[in-house]
Amino acid sequence: MTTLTPRNKRIALLCAISFLNLSSVALAGEMKNADSTSTTQNKIEIKDFAFNPQTLKVKSGEKITWINRDEEPHTVVSVEKQFKKSTALDTDQEFTITAGVPGTYTYFCSVHPKMTGTIVVEK
C-alpha cells in the first residue's frame, strides 16, 4: 500500500494535470523568429545557460515566450511531458506556448539539462 506522502500527492496532482491537459489542449507550442511581432508580456530570456526568470507566474490563457540570447542552441522541454517541446532554438529564436490548466510546470533544456525552470499557472 502506498502512503500518500506530500511528494506522492504532488506526483498524483501532476499526473492529474497531465491527464487534464490531454483533453483541454492546455499548452500548445508554436515557434517563430524573434523579429516577428509579439504581444506577449510573459517573456523568459535564455542567457548564459539559464532561464530568466527561473520561475514565472502567469494566468491561464496567457502566452509565454522563451527567447534564446545565447550563441548555443537550447530547448524547452517539459519534465513531465505536459506540453509540446520546442525544437532547438538558435540565437534570437523564440518559442511560445499558451498557459492552460492551473498548476506547476517544470521544464529543462534537453541539450544542457542543468538548465531548469518552472511555470506556475494561476486561474
Binding site: 548555443e72 519534465v79 542543468k114
Partner: protein, 320 residues
C-alpha cells in the same frame, strides 16, 4: 610565456598556466600512437614539422572533435575553413594515421546541410576510415536518427549508436552520452549501454589496452557547467582491472588531462572555437578571441604513458 608546459599527473590539480594556454587553441587535432604498450599523443603540426615517420608496427590514429559545422558567429565565422586546416595538417603528415576518431559535435544544429558540408570537406582527407560518436549538437531534434544513418555504416552499432572494435590488439569502445538526458543532470550513458559495456569487455584479458571515446567527458570536469557524465563511474568500474585505459572526450574545447589509477582521461581541442576554462566565465559557450589570433592558437600536445603506471608525461606547446 614558455612554449612548454609539463604537468605532474601524480596529482589531480591542473596547472593553471598550462590550462589557460591550452584552452585558447583551436583548429587542431591530436595524433595518438600505440607502440609497444606505450600510448602517446602529439599534435599534427608537431608530426608534420618534425617529419618523424612511424614504424610499420605502430598503430596511429587521430582524434578530431567539435567541428560545429554551421556555427558562424564572432568566435569563428568560418569553422569550415578551420576544419579544413585540420584536415590539411593530417594530409601533410609523412605517415598518415590509420584512422580518425571524431568525438562529436560534427555540426552546430544537426541540420542535413551541415552534415553535407562536413562530409564534403572530409573528402579531402587522405585518411578515409573515421569512427564517430555523437555530440549533443548532432542529435538536437531527431534523437540522433540522421547522425546514425550517416556515421555508423562501418561499425556494428547497438542501441543509440555505441560500438566497439579492435585494431592492432587495442580494444576501442565508442560510447553515446548525449541522449535521453534528465532534467538537472549531466551526460548519461544509461543502463542498456552500461550492460552492453560490461559484457563487451568481459572476455578481454586485463593486458588488452583499452581506448574509450565519447563526447561529454567521462569524469567530473566541472559539473556546474554540465561537464561530466552522471553514470560514468559505473562504466569505469568495468574497466578498472585493465592495465591501460585511455578515455578520449571532446565537448569542452580545451585540453585537460587526469590520471586515475590505470585510467588516463584526455579532452581534445575543437577545430571551431575555444570555450572558457571551467568557472572563468558566467557560462560555457563559444569564447571570442581576436580573429588574427585564432590560427596562431593552434597547439600541440605530447603525451606518453606506460601500461600499469600512473605517471603521465605531458608536453604541450603552442605553434606561434
Amino acid at each position: 610565456m614558455s612554449d612548454y608546459i609539463s604537468h605532474d599527473h601524480e596529482h589531480d590539480d591542473i596547472d593553471r598556466r598550462g590550462f589557460l594556454q591550452c584552452m585558447a587553441w583551436a583548429g587542431t587535432g591530436l595524433l595518438w600512437t600505440v607502440s609497444g604498450g606505450v600510448l602517446a599523443s602529439r599534435t599534427l603540426a608537431q608530426i608534420a614539422k618534425a617529419g618523424e615517420p612511424l614504424r610499420a608496427t605502430d598503430l596511429s590514429f587521430l582524434q578530431i572533435s567539435d567541428s560545429h559545422i554551421g556555427f558562424s558567429k564572432e568566435a569563428n565565422k568560418d569553422v569550415t575553413a578551420t576544419f579544413q586546416i585540420a584536415l590539411d595538417r593530417i594530409n601533410a603528415m609523412p605517415t598518415p594515421p590509420s584512422f580518425l576518431i571524431h568525438t562529436g559535435d560534427i555540426t552546430q544544429l544537426s541540420k542535413p546541410e551541415e552534415f553535407d558540408t562536413f562530409d564534403q570537406v572530409l573528402k579531402s582527407c587522405r585518411t578515409k576510415d573515421v569512427f564517430y560518436v555523437p555530440g549533443e549538437h548532432d542529435v538536437l531534434n531527431d534523437g540522433g536518427k540522421l547522425y546514425r544513418e550517416r556515421y555508423l555504416k562501418s561499425v556494428e552499432a547497438k542501441g543509440s549508436g555505441w560500438y566497439s572494435f579492435n585494431k592492432n590488439g587495442v580494444h576501442f569502445i565508442g560510447l553515446v552520452n548525449v541522449l535521453d538526458l534528465q532534467a538537472g543532470g549531466l551526460g548519461q550513458l544509461g543502463d542498456e549501454q552500461l550492460e552492453w559495456l560490461e559484457a563487451d569487455v568481459k572476455g578481454l584479458g586485463s593486458s588488452t589496452p583499452i581506448v574509450v571515446f565519447a563526447h561529454i567527458p567521462l569524469w567530473a570536469v566541472y559539473p556546474q557547467w554540465g561537464w561530466g557524465t552522471s553514470d560514468s563511474e559505473r562504466a569505469l568500474g568495468y574497466l578498472k582491472r585493465f592495465g591501460s585505459v585511455t578515455v578520449l572526450n571532446g565537448h569542452i574545447h580545451q585540453v585537460l588531462q587526469k590520471v586515475e589509477g590505470n585510467i588516463t582521461f584526455h579532452t581534445a581541442m575543437s577545430t571551431a572555437f575555444p570555450q572558457p576554462a571551467p568557472g572563468t566565465a558566467p557560462s560555457p559557450g563559444p569564447m571570442k578571441v581576436p580573429a588574427e589570433k585564432l590560427r596562431s592558437m593552434l597547439g600541440l600536445t605530447s603525451v606518453q604513458y606506460k601500461q600499469g603506471k600512473t605517471a603521465l608525461a605531458v608536453v604541450d606547446s603552442n605553434l606561434s
